[in-house]
Structures are given as C-alpha cells and as structure tokens.
Subunit: 286 residues, 2 copies
C-alpha cells in the first residue's frame, strides 16, 4: 500500500526552486497556492531579482548560497538546460542537501545520462510555458490538465518516483513516465523542431513585409520570439532527435515542392488534407 | 478635386456579395454596419445557405441568378481563387450588370492577367480572415486597421480605383496599391508559404504525440486546420512565388541543419537571434 502522502497528494516542509524565472516562478506560485510546502525558497544568482520575486510574493525566502538548502525536502531545478547538470551537482555537494531533486528541462537524454549515478535525482519536464521570460509572467503559465513527463532511471526508488509524480499531480498536471530517449524523440516533433521551423520562417520576412502580415503568420511564428540563448541550448541538447525530425520535414517539403513543380493539384490537396486531419485531432486534446 | 463620395467615404444603393462565406459574409455585415449600401444582395449557388445568411441578417436579399445584379453599383466576388475569373466573367455577361467589380482573392497575378481587358474590374485583397469557414463565423473577421491591397491595371480609370479604395477604407481598412506581381511575391512570404510550412509541420505528428503538444505547436500549426481545397487553389495560383519562398526556406533549413551537424552553437544562436528580431518587429504593427 502506498503511504498516504503519495496517494493523497504532495506536501512538505521546505521546497526549493533553483532559478526563479518564468517556469520556476510559476511552480513556486502554484505550490504556494496549492499549499504543497510550508516554505518556498528561491535560489538564484541575482540577489536583487530574487528580492523582487520575494516582494512579489512568488517565493517566501530568497537565497544565493546553496548551503541554505540544508534539509530541504525537494529542489526543483529550473535553470536553462545547459546549466541543469551543474546546478544539480552543486546541490548534491551541499551537506545534508535536498532529499529529492528534479528539474524542468525541455530535454532529458543528455541531462539524465550525466546524472545517472545520482539516485535522488529524477528528471521531469512539465510541458507548460510561454515565449516570455521572467517571474513577472509566471502567473500566465498554466499547469492544470497539462502533461508532465517524468523520466526515472533504474537507480531511482519506487518511493522517490512516486513522490516526484505526486508533486506534479499536486500542481494539477497529468503525469506520464517515459524513458529520456522516448521523451526527446517526441518533444523534437512537438516542440523543439517546430521552434526551429518558426525561427526559419520569421527569418524569411523582408523589410516592408510587416504590413501584409495577418494572424496566420503571427501565430505560426509566435514562438520565434522565444529567447535565442535558451533555444540554442535546447536544440543543441537534443541535436540528434531534432536533426531526425528536420530530415523528415525536409523530405515533406521536397515532396510538396515536386507537387508544385508538376502542378499536381491532387497530390498537393491530399497532403494538405491529411496534415489538416492531424491538426484537427489536436482539438480533442485541448 | 475629388468628388465628396471619394473623400468622405463610400456609399451606394446596391452592393452585391458574390459568395457569402466567411469573408463575403464579413464584408456584408461590416458594409451594413457602416451603412455603405442601402441594400446588400448575396449571390450564390446554394439557395438554402443564402436563405440562412439572409435570416441571420448577414445579407438583405438572397439570389442564385446573376441577372438579379442589374444596376448594382459594386459587386465583390468572394468565391475561391480558382472560381473568381469565371464568376467575374458571368457578372460581365449580365446586361446592365455591376458598374464596378472587385474580388477578395488571396492571389492577384493570375486573376488580374485573365481579366486585364475588363476595365470595370479591379483586383483587391483584404488581408483578413480565419482558418474557419462559413458566414456563421463572419463576425469574427476583423477589418479595422488591417491592410487591403488593391492591384489596378492601366485600363482602370482613376475614378474607379478611387471608388474601390474608398470602399475598403469605409470598411475600416488601410489601403495600399501594389502591382499584382508585387502582391503575390509579398503574400507568398507572409501567408501562402507559411500555410504550406504549417501543413508540413502538422504532418510530422505521430500517433500518440498529441498529449505532448503545448501552445507552441498549436499556434504554429493553427492554420494547418484551414480548408485544403481553398489552399490548394491558392498555392497553385501563386505557384511561382511560393516555390521561390520554399527554395529560400529550404536553404535556411539546410544552413540550420549544418549548424546542428557541426554543433556550431554560435552560428545557430546568431540565426535564431536575427529571426527573433524579425518576429519582434511585427509587434510594432499589431
């Protein structure tokens, strides 16, 4: 039988958020709202930003020294994907440091491989966010009914996995367990490559085109306003799966290009119609 | 000096909307709201749909016989791009038919070339719309502050051009004059090719991926829910410019692919950052 704390939801004394930006701030806010922790401690590098986050009520305590995280129950590392491994290692070095550690990185393969010997680390990816940055927009992030992928390894205990899953469920999310590789292959298709495609599309615009842009182009390229550093790191961290998706996309474009060259209306229509059905199927999941 | 009717806005006795779908319905509604005509006549092929549009208050009169359009001041042809030329020719065949004719086709080159001998036809493209269909969604279409391209030829009189431009301005739109070729080159970048790219992206989704889709993918592929017949016709009608944009897009992807192959973080970041600036510039035009 599972202990009550797992089935009835997550609760702890002290929750640490490492990196109080958009998603870290959103997790802190929601954890406070759902009363998941008695104290939410924000750890970061910029003391004045952390003070602002504390004053805004996003976190209860602000700290720049990891040693403050002694005896913390859970630390959620919300830094950019290329800093997560180092930040988790820093937490591990804290004497009597966080009992459980998870992250929110948009890629899992490289991170989970680097940390595969750390039994108290379990990778997570709450699929929620925005093209914006900073805890000031944290209230815009929606968790309710969204998916959170949890990517445990063989070293993680069933109890630790259950506790991490209970944490995300208590934020309102649906949880699914994937291998880091499964996660990265899916996310390459549903998020990472689409960002690359949107950036490439926004790059096509010529000066003066702006006035002729309607809602379609705006929506299609909205995510091209996302932070370039963050997305360079994500695309690099999931390079193999993104390249595989890119290859398939280029094949699809080549085939569409041939339809246009040959003025093959039937071929073009049938490709568009089948893509349209794929897109409409998403409406069942909204 | 321009006559008052041109500077003070558009007004007429009878306005005909040929094809009362999403955009035709929206023009009818807005023309009635802004009191641009005493009567708005909807012409179409499906009598029962037209009757519904009349009952919904979108049009004042419904007709399936073009002969009804005798002595009409302006006819706006809102049928799919591959039917516009035929529909305009039908109107020209009506004795004492519409004095002025325009259209709303998303492509202009092929249409304006076919109709270059028709002095009372002036091509237009109000850049407004939605991925939805049918006059039932007409109220969702926004004209205020949006751009309408007008693509006259040498045969059109200055007075006729001014009257068409006054019509679109009276709907709340900003009007710009372009050659049909300029129009098609710009729209290939800002609308036509982005639709193709969005369809191709939606086509990459594999069964089971749906649960891992977040706002980014949804937005990026929203226009892939657009009607496949309509978009096949548009892409075919603007084949050359779309192929040119597709070529440039493939070059951009190939360059990004090389950055990923070489793990060239700097190259990737600089491409993303420059695309991001392009996208952010759009916010000044919203």
């Amino acid at each position: 039988m599972k202990p009550a704390s797992e089935t009835a939801g997550f609760h702890c004394e002290a929750l640490a958020i490492v990196g109080v930006g958009l998603i870290g701030g959103a997790i802190a806010l929601k954890a406070k709202q759902n009363k998941l922790a008695r104290r939410v401690i924000g750890l970061g590098r910029d003391a004045s930003r952390l003070t602002s986050a504390r004053r805004a009520g996003v976190i209860d305590e602000a700290a720049t020294d990891p040693d403050v995280l002694r005896a913390v129950d859970l630390a959620v590392v919300c830094t950019p994907v290329d800093r997560i491994v180092d930040d988790v290692r820093t937490l591990i070095g804290v004497p009597d440091g966080p009992r459980l550690i998870t992250d929110v990185g948009s890629t899992k393969g490289a991170i989970c491989e680097s940390l595969q010997n750390v039994s108290r680390f379990i990778g997570s990816h709450p699929i929620a966010g925005s093209e914006k940055r900073g805890f000031e927009h944290a209230h815009e992030v929606q968790f309710d009914g969204r998916m959170c992928a949890v990517t445990p390894t063989e070293l993680n205990s069933a109890e630790a996995i259950a506790r991490i899953e209970a944490f995300w469920r208590s934020l309102g999310m649906n949880v699914t367990r994937l291998s880091p590789q499964q996660h990265d292959a899916i996310l390459a298709r549903t998020s990472h490559f689409p960002h690359l495609a949107a950036y490439a599309l926004a790059g096509l615009l010529q000066p003066g085109d702006e006035a002729y842009v309607a809602g379609g182009f705006r929506d299609t390229t909205r995510i091209a306003a996302s932070d370039a550093d963050l997305w360079t790191a994500i695309l690099m961290a999931n390079r193999d799966a993104v390249r595989e998706t890119l290859r398939r996309y280029q094949q699809a474009l080549t085939s569409l290009s041939r339809d246009l060259d040959d003025a093959d209306e039937c071929g073009l229509r049938s490709t568009l119609e089948s893509a349209r059905k794929n897109r409409l199927r998403l409406n069942e999941f909204s």
